[in-house]
Symmetry: C2
Subunit: 492 residues, 2 copies
Amino acid sequence: MAQKISKRSEDYSQWYNDIIKIADLAEHSDVRGCMVIKPYGFAIWEKMKDILDKKFKETGHSNAYFPLFIPKSLFEAEEKNAEGFAKECAVVTHYRLKSDPNNKGKLIVDPEAKLTEELVVRPTSEAIIWNTYKKWVQSYRDLPILINQWANVVRWEMRTRLFLRTSEFLWQEGHTAHATKPEAIAEAEQMNNVYADFAEKYMAMPVIRGVKSESERFAGADETYCIEAMMQDGKALQAGTSHFLGQNFAKAFDVKYATKDGKEEYVWATSWGVSTRLMGALIMTHSDDLGLVLPPALAPIHVAIVPIYKTEEQLTQIKTKIKDFSNTLKQAGFTVKFDDDDQKRPGWKFAEYEAKGVPVRIAIGPRDLENNQAEVARRDTQEKQTIALDGIADYIKKLLDDIQSNLYQKALKFRDNNIQKVETYDEFKEKLKKDGGFFLAHWDGTAETEELIQQETKATIRCLPFNLGQEAGKCMVTGKPSKQRVIFAKAY
Amino acid sequence: MAQKISKRSEDYSQWYNDIIKIADLAEHSDVRGCMVIKPYGFAIWEKMKDILDKKFKETGHSNAYFPLFIPKSLFEAEEKNAEGFAKECAVVTHYRLKSDPNNKGKLIVDPEAKLTEELVVRPTSEAIIWNTYKKWVQSYRDLPILINQWANVVRWEMRTRLFLRTSEFLWQEGHTAHATKPEAIAEAEQMNNVYADFAEKYMAMPVIRGVKSESERFAGADETYCIEAMMQDGKALQAGTSHFLGQNFAKAFDVKYATKDGKEEYVWATSWGVSTRLMGALIMTHSDDLGLVLPPALAPIHVAIVPIYKTEEQLTQIKTKIKDFSNTLKQAGFTVKFDDDDQKRPGWKFAEYEAKGVPVRIAIGPRDLENNQAEVARRDTQEKQTIALDGIADYIKKLLDDIQSNLYQKALKFRDNNIQKVETYDEFKEKLKKDGGFFLAHWDGTAETEELIQQETKATIRCLPFNLGQEAGKCMVTGKPSKQRVIFAKAY
C-alpha cells in the first residue's frame, strides 16, 4: 500500500483514478476505450447484478439473450434512435482474416470475406429486439412481454474514464411490450422506482427522480424517466434511465396486435437500463482520501480480521477465539476474511482493507486474547472501539447496519446542503461557479434556452424532478412562464 | 400445443429443431448465424451458470471482465492460436456510420472513421488476457491468477444449428496463470473434473473423460482435456474442454516472473470453457418424441399443478387444498407453478408442460378433492399415480430425486450399450455404419492415420479416455503399436 492517493480537494479527477487503482477495481486495457474489470471490482458489480436481477424477477421479468450484432438495415429502421447512435458505432465489415503474404506470421483482413451488409455492434438493443418481438406478437394474449437482458454494449467514445465512460460497458437492458399506453407508462415508472430503490437502499446513494427534458431524452423515446445522484464534487451523475418509447419502435418494425374486439393496434414499448457506470457513482458517493468506502450491502468482504501475533501458538489461540463469532457472521450471510498472511505486517493489512473499503476491520493481539476482546474499526468514520468477544457477532451485525444507514444519511445531507434555489440567471452563473452542486431554477421549457445555458455555463438540465420545486414561476433567462423548477448541474 | 414433433427415429435432426421450438427455448435471429435465447431456454442456462459459477468459486476462482475486442496485432501474437481462429473472425474496421447522402434516412459506413488497426471480436480471450496478465505478474507472489469470465464470443460459422453451432454464443472461459508446470496441469485436470461432475450430477449426462489427440487440441494448447457425451443418435458431443497451455501464451506475450530464488521464468497457463452448447447436449440426452425432458436439477419449473374445475368454488377449494404442500415444496427450494389460466383446457396444459419438460405434473379435480388425493405424473417415464394429499410433499421430493437419478441411469445404460470394441478397420467401418455409437479401437498415434479414418468414415478421435480401453494393442489401420484404445465416433 505504498501508493499515494491524491486528495479530493486538490485533484478530484486524479483522486477518482487513484481510488480505482488502489482498490484494484479496474484498469484501462490496450484496446482503445475498453476497460478490464478486475476481480475485486467485478465482485462489487456481481453484487449489484444479483440484487437487481432479483428485483427484476420479482416485478415479473424474465431474462433472455439477443444477438450482439445488428444488421445495418435493422439499425436504421427507427430513425431517431439510429441518428442518436450512428456516430459512435463499432462496425463489423468482414468475417475472416488471412495470412499476410508479404509478412510472415501476420494477418490481414481477407478482402474476399466482406459482408454484404455491415453489422453494427449493439450500442443498445431496441432494434434487434423489436425486430424479434414482431414475430412473437399477434394478439393481446401475447402481451405483455417483460424481458431483461444482461449484456455488453459498445458506444465508441473519444474520451474515456474508467466505469463512467468506456467504449464497451456492461449493463442490463429491459425491453417490454404492452397493449396499452397507460400500462407502458406504468412499467417505465415502476422500473425507475426499482432503480431509485436500489440506489438508495443498497448503494446508500440518494437520488432525485424525475423526467428528462426533450433534448436529453433517449433517442427514440417519448419520455425518459431518470434518477440523478450528486457526486462529492457537486456534479450530477445519471444513475439509471427508464424510457417510455410510445409506439415508435412498434411502428418502425411494424409490430401490431389484435385487440380483444378484433382491431389491430401498434404495441406500446418501454426500455430501461443501468450499467457499470453505477460503479463510478458508488465510488464517488462514499469514498474518501484514504481509499474506497463501500456500503455493507455491496461489499464483497464485510469483515476483515487481522491477527497480531509473534508465535504460532498465539496465532492458534487467536484462530480458536474468533472461530465462533466468525461462523455466526458467516451464517448470517456476511463474508469474513481472516488474513493470516505472514508475508505482510498488520499495518500494511490495515491500510489495504481501508483502501478496499472493507466496512469493518477487527484486530486481535496477545493482550486482546488475555482480556477476551478485540479492536473493531469501522471504515466509514474510522472510529475504533474495543469490544468484548462475547456478543461481538451481534455488535458487528448492528454496526454493519449502522454503517449502511450512516453512509446514506451522510450522502443525503451532503446532497441536500448542495441544492439551492436560484431566481436569476446571474445568480445561477455566480453560484454555479462559486459553489457547484444542483440548482433549482425556472426554465421556459424550450430547447433554445436549454442550449444557451449549456453553452454559456456547461450546466445541463438533469431532470424535471417529481418531488422538488413544483411551484410555478418565470424562466431565469427569458422570464417566460415555467410550471415547475428544474435541476441544473454540471454532469458526468 | 398443436405443433407436431418429428420422431427421433424418422428425422433426428428435425426432431431436435422441433423440441427447441415446442419447448420455446431459442430461435434463429435475422442476424446470420446468431440466435435469440428465449426466456425459458435462458432460465435453464441461468441454472447451469449459477451452479458452475459456485463450483468455480469453491475451487478458488474469481470472476472478472476483459474487452470484447482484440487488436489484430495482439490476436496474431500466439501464432497457432491465431491460425486456428483467423478463418472465422468477425472484424471491426470502422467506428462510425453517417447519413447516406444519396438515400434519405439510410446510413452508410463513414469512410473517414476507419480504424488504424482492425479489431477482432473475441473468438476466445487468451490473447487479450495474457496481454493483461503481463502487467499483473512480476514475482511468484503474484501467482497463481485464477480468473473466470462469463462472456459472449463470436466464431463465424457457415452452417449453424441452434445451441450447437452459432456464430455468437455465450460461455465461460477460465484463464489461469501458475508458477509451475505441475500446478498448471493439476488445474487443467481439476477443471475438467469440475465439468464432468457438473455434467453427471446436474445434467444427468454421463461423460467420458480423456485427452484430445494432437490434431483435435485447442489451437495453442499443449494438452486438451475433455468430456465427451453420447447423444441419442449415437453421435458424440464435446461438452467441455480444459487446456494445459504450457508456456505458449507466456512466451508470445513475454509474461515472466521472478522465482523465490530470484530467477526469471515464463508463467504456465490453462484455459477452460463450457458454452451454451451444453443446452444442445441437455436436449439431446434426455428428450423424447413428446418434447423436452429436463433433469430436476436444471428445471426452471419443477412441479406444475393443473386444477380441473367447473365452478369458481371448486377452484377455491383446490387452491386451499394445494396450499400447504406447494408451500412446503417452495420452501425446500422447488419451483411450483399453479396454472389456473382459464383460457386453456387441462389437456392443453398437460401437453404444454410435457413439451417443456417439467419433471412433475399434478392434476387435481373434484373427485380428487373428495378423496383428498391428486394425480401425479412424472415426465421421464410418463407414469401416473394417485397420491394422498397427506404427505404428498415428501412423495414429490423423493420423486424428483428419483427422476434425476433415473435420467442419469437411463442415459448411462444407453451410452454403455452403444460403446463397442473393434479390432479391425473393416469391422469398424461396418459397425459404424450399422450401429453408430462410440468405438474403442487401437490407433497408431499419427495424424495421418487419424485423417485417413476421418476422410473415409467421418468419424474422429473423440478422446484418449482415462478409464476405458487402457490395454496395449495394434492400430486397426496400420498395425503399428498402440498404447491404449481411443474413442472414435461421429460428432457434433
